[in-house]
């Protein structure tokens, strides 16, 4: 490429756009700087208030907690101002006068959710609960409770024009804006929930980067800080809600409390009060949680490291989502002793082969859980929420990947035997290009998906990369290599109609027929095929990746159709067989006595056909029939049975073609006569083309010796076997072994280079 001035300017502009993005805290204007300062200032003020808070103290000026549920009952249009006239800030009790929860919710949390171990701490809970829990969620009510008004400070709003430097003052309420419909409500009755739990162990110390110590709170045997990612939706996935929030885990009692945080609710400072509203040890719990939260604040220097991203996220979450408080109670692991739990934990963390029976490890189970949204008045409850530990899940996925690698290896081996089986152009010519294109497309996109996954899941990097590698070798080296030779052997037929091909002929020898101007060599075919392969691969992979986020109905239809189409890979081969007209097995054995034994074999090895079908359908069968599969795919046995029958049908057709001849299903009169290389010649031919040295012979251009030919008019030549020589469509005569040998290299006439119909 020549680089002129315009290109250079273009490149510089692109580079400028790349490198001029804001770094660090993401601030790109004076306005944003002021926004960020306001946010930090607000958090610092609230943190100071938080430090002075005691168990008997109310919330004062903390965002989102200025109003209690009782305030809203008293005056539904009450604005959240501080101090509220007549409100008692010096006392705090766990009831709706002081909390944003109604008394009914508080009671049901006390009696139904957090009821496993109140005073006694004899129950044992696993200290490390990284996992993904799946279960069902039900709506209890979405209109019964008063919605607490939570204003969004206006300084979060983006600048209205470039000259704006100072963010606006004041606050806005939802009621002053247009409503967002189901965004601020939950409208389905029954749905599914997924809770991902991460531990905040890997926080990096932002103050001194070079030390890189991990966050360990002083009371880590009793309290852990978690990150909770809660997603719930209805079955059809039309309405999705997702909450990401910090959580506190009480290891002694198996309780998890999570309150979402946004610009209208600063839940960090409410965790101590809401964790401790229950029993007689409450003041102790309050102080411990407060200490943990404060430790976390200091460790991460919470306010100092905020960026513009936090500002925007907080603003978006406040506008688009309800705030949710999540109360979870885990099932105790009382079947283990404390030492056993520690052993299991160590083994999962750092496997050494300790005698911890990991295969019998019970799943983490939420025995009771409640979601309540104070600002939307929505109450949800969950049941059957459980999941195995993350490390166990990784181990299980690893086993699946290893099995997949074995499948790839088997497929590579089968393909090699198949390639060895068809090692002449005549044989390769009978193979369907589209059959292998479909197989190749699936393998190629699997390789890309594995590569993508390898960068997402660092724990499985090694097996994923090995899988991607073996898959990529299979797809882009062996299969493409085979496709290139198939394509090269079929170049002759590109401009020929199916009927002509049925005649077994690349068209009668016809001077007027446009022949390909040049026959491309394998190098150029390879180039174009590789280009097509990678293009298809990228398109297909993007389609697959985007389809995972489609609504359930559409996604399932797409999936079923796609799996059906991609499992029809023998259909093109059936058509190809019919076009090429392979004789039945009996005829083949008969004709093999007379020579050309290699030319009439079935193009596909049976071990390849059966092996490939099994290898390719095993994953589908697993995903669709094994209900607790690693992909969280639903179970559908009917589809698998249908698919197996379909594959069986294809294979049986292939087999019948092998036994009965590949055109048995075509009516006799639709099959035109094929070209026959073996025919008698006339004396005209000799006079036209000149004979050989002896009488009634011609020269074979390959071995340069005489070919005795059968001439209709000359009776003494009738002793000559018509199968001993071959006449090409372009009227050149060769010995049968000579031309057959040549045709196993190239399907072109050795004399005039016109295409030859394969045998």
């Amino acid at each position: 490429m020549e680089i002129d001035g315009n290109t250079l300017v273009f490149i510089i502009v692109i580079l400028f756009l790349f490198f001029s993005t804001p770094g660090g805290d993401g601030v790109s204007s004076q306005y944003e700087f002021n926004q960020l300062q306001r946010l930090k200032q607000q958090f610092r003020t609230e943190h100071d208030a938080f430090l002075n808070m005691t168990y008997t103290d109310g919330f004062r000026n903390i965002t989102g907690f200025k109003l209690s549920y009782q305030d809203m009952l008293n005056n539904p249009l009450q604005n959240a101002t501080y101090p509220l006239p007549g409100k008692d800030y010096d006392r705090w009790f766990p009831e709706q006068n002081y909390m944003i929860l109604p008394n009914e919710i508080i009671d049901s949390i006390n009696t139904e959710v957090w009821n496993t171990s109140n005073g006694d701490t004899s129950n044992l809970f696993p200290p490390n609960i990284t996992s993904t829990l799946l279960g069902k969620i039900n709506l209890v009510s979405n209109n019964k409770y008063e919605k607490i008004r939570m204003p969004i400070p206006r300084f979060y709003e983006p600048a209205s024009d470039f000259s704006d430097d100072i963010p606006p003052e004041g606050e806005t309420y939802w009621s002053e804006r247009h409503t967002y419909g189901e965004l601020h409500n939950v409208s389905f009755q029954h749905g599914e929930i997924a809770i991902q739990i991460f531990h905040m162990n890997n926080l990096q110390d932002n103050n001194n980067n070079y030390l890189r110590r991990n966050f360990i709170n002083k009371k880590s045997d009793r309290w852990k800080l978690l990150n909770l990612q809660i997603d719930f939706s209805d079955k059809a996935e039309k309405e999705k809600h997702s909450i990401s929030s910090m959580a506190v885990y009480d290891i002694q009692r198996g309780r998890i409390l999570s309150i979402s945080q946004s610009s209208k609710l600063h839940s960090l400072f409410a965790l101590p009060h809401y964790m401790s509203f229950q029993n007689e040890y409450n003041e102790k719990i309050f102080n411990e949680v407060k200490e943990v939260v404060d430790e976390y604040w200091n460790f991460t220097s919470y306010a100092n490291v905020m960026t513009m991203k936090d500002v925007q996220n907080a603003y978006n979450n406040a506008n688009l989502k309800c705030e949710y408080m999540t109360f979870l109670q885990l099932e105790p692991w009382n079947q283990y002793t404390r030492d056993q739990i520690k052993l299991i934990d160590d083994e999962l963390n750092w496997p050494l082969g300790r005698p911890a029976n990991l295969s019998s490890l019970p799943p983490l189970k939420v025995i009771s859980g409640l979601l309540y949204s104070p600002d939307c008045g929505v109450r949800l409850e969950m049941h059957d929420v459980k999941g195995i530990r993350y490390e166990l899940k990784i181990m299980s996925i690893r086993r699946h990947l290893l099995f997949g690698i074995a499948l790839f290896a088997a497929q590579i081996y089968l393909l090699l035997t198949q390639m060895h089986h068809t090692n002449t152009p005549s044989m390769v010519n009978k193979i369907s290009f589209y059959c292998f294109s479909m197989i190749n497309l699936v393998d190629g996109s699997l390789a890309t998906l594995y590569f993508v996954a390898a960068s997402i899941v660092p724990e499985l990097y090694l097996p994923l990369v090995i899988s991607a590698f073996s898959c990529f070798i299979l797809a882009s080296i062996f299969e493409i290599r085979y496709l290139i030779s198939i394509y090269a052997s079929q170049v002759n037929e590109q401009n020929v109609g199916v009927l002509n091909l049925l005649r077994g002929n690349t068209g009668a020898y016809d001077e007027n027929r446009p022949r390909p101007a040049f026959i491309p060599d394998e190098g150029s075919i390879g180039g174009s095929l590789y280009g097509r392969f990678f293009f298809m691969l990228i398109i297909f992979t993007f389609l697959l990746l985007s389809s995972t986020s489609w609504p359930r109905q559409l996604r399932m239809t797409f999936e079923y159709i796609l799996i059906f189409i991609l499992n029809s890979y023998w259909i093109p081969q059936i058509f190809r067989n019919a076009v090429k007209g392979i004789p039945s097995r009996r005829e083949r054995t008969r004709s093999s006595i007379g020579g050309n034994r290699n030319q009439n074999k079935m193009p596909l090895l049976w071990s390849f056909v059966v092996g490939t079908t099994i290898i390719r359908s095993l994953p589908v069968v697993y995903v669709f029939t094994y209900s607790s599969n690693v992909f969280r795919h639903h179970k559908d046995v009917h589809f698998v049975v249908f698919l197996s029958l379909w594959l069986l049908f294809q294979i049986s057709i292939l087999y019948s073609q092998d036994i009965l001849g590949s055109r048995w299903f075509l009516p006799k009169h639709t099959i035109p006569d094929g070209y026959s290389y073996f025919k008698a010649l006339s004396t005209e031919y000799i006079s036209e083309h000149g004979g050989g040295t002896a009488e009634n012979t011609v020269d074979c251009a390959i071995c340069m010796s005489d070919v005795p030919i059968y001439i209709e008019e000359v009776p003494e030549t009738h002793k000559v076997d018509q199968h001993s020589y071959m006449v090409t469509p372009c009227n050149h005569v060769f010995h049968t072994p000579c031309l057959e040998n040549w045709m196993s290299y190239k399907l072109q006439c050795p004399v005039c280079r016109s295409p030859l119909p394969p045998l």
Binding site: G353, L402, L416, H420, L462, P463, I466, F478, S485
Partner: protein, 322 residues
């Protein structure tokens, strides 16, 4: 025995097996994330958990990648031993070394920890990883039975070219250091690296294993003289070519078909007489032009006779050649 060692592992099945195992087992174990099973320590695995299976598998997989590579190189250098002893005897020697070194290391470890290792800081806890014990046991045989082919010396002069540079008499330079190095210095260096790489455990286990090798050789630890691993001779029948094989192969190539028949008979006789001692005598050098098996005698009516047999490895390569 010729001075030039054969290159490659074409006729060395046991060496090939050892190298492949040394490389493939760690690879598969790390992909499957089961490498920790090959870690052996007295506390907690033997003492607390009673996981005695670790004793029998720890020699199959080195934990460190560097150990894996060093061991693979050492197995390659030890191919002379296979040439010397014959594949069957070599395999027997490896198996015996594996058994005796494992038992010796384990037993001595138990004795040490029962009497001296009562104190925590004296406890012998760590073991070597990988096939270090087997290799150290084989090293005795290598040193004992492989002739030194050449040596050279390195002369290190004193500071500033040594005193000799002024005296014009290098022979009298007292500060110069002479290092004599023979052709086995690569092996010595690798063994040293292997042992030092594993620290104290490597030194102890290595020393015990070396003693095991000596005792096996002297017959103190029985087995090598009269016993062979049964049932495997079929798989390793293509042992390394011995001098007799080479001679016979040359003979067969130069002589007529009649002479060839007698040579084959001689091979058969030699094979049956050698079987007890140094493994079955093998067919002659593969791939050389002197091979007496004549492909032209194969029937033409056999399918695929017109093209040579293509093993899978050749198929792989052919795919890219085409």
């Amino acid at each position: 025995m010729s001075m030039e060692p054969p290159v490659g592992l074409a006729s060395m099945p046991v060496t090939k097996l050892s190298m492949v195992m040394t490389l493939v087992v760690p690879l598969v174990a790390s992909i499957a994330s089961y490498k920790h099973l090959f870690l052996l320590q007295y506390d907690p695995f033997l003492q607390t958990y009673h996981q005695y299976f670790r004793l029998f598998i720890f020699q199959f997989c080195a934990i460190n990648e560097s150990d894996t590579v060093i061991l693979a190189l050492l197995w390659y250098l030890f191919r002379h031993l296979e040439r010397l002893l014959g594949s069957h005897k070599y395999l027997t020697l490896i198996a015996l070394s594996w058994m005796y070194t494992t038992l010796a290391i384990w037993g001595l470890n138990l004795i040490w920890n029962a009497f001296i290792g009562q104190f925590t800081w004296l406890q012998w806890n760590n073991f070597s990883t990988g096939s270090l014990p087997i290799v150290l046991s084989l090293m005795h045989f290598y040193k004992e039975y492989t002739p030194q082919i050449y040596e050279w010396s390195i002369r290190l002069l004193g500071p500033r070219g040594g005193v000799a540079s002024q005296n014009y008499n290098k022979q009298e330079d007292k500060s110069a250091v002479d290092w004599s190095i023979n052709d086995q210095f690569l092996l010595n260096g690798l063994i040293l690296l292997l042992i030092l790489n594993q620290g104290f455990a490597g030194i102890i286990c290595g020393f015990i294993s070396w003693m095991c090798g000596i005792f096996i050789d002297k017959g103190l630890l029985p087995g090598l003289d009269h016993w062979r691993i049964p049932f495997v001779s079929h798989y390793i029948s293509r042992g390394p070519p011995t001098r007799a094989d080479v001679a016979m192969a040359a003979n067969a190539a130069t002589n007529t078909a009649a002479a060839r028949a007698t040579a084959q008979a001689a091979t058969a006789v030699a094979g049956s007489s050698n079987a007890g001692n140094s493994g079955p005598a093998s067919i002659p050098l593969r791939g050389s032009s002197t091979t007496p098996t004549d492909s032209s005698t194969a029937g033409d009516d056999e399918p695929g006779a017109d093209e040579p047999a293509r093993p899978l490895g050749v198929q792989f390569l052919d795919i890219f050649r085409r």
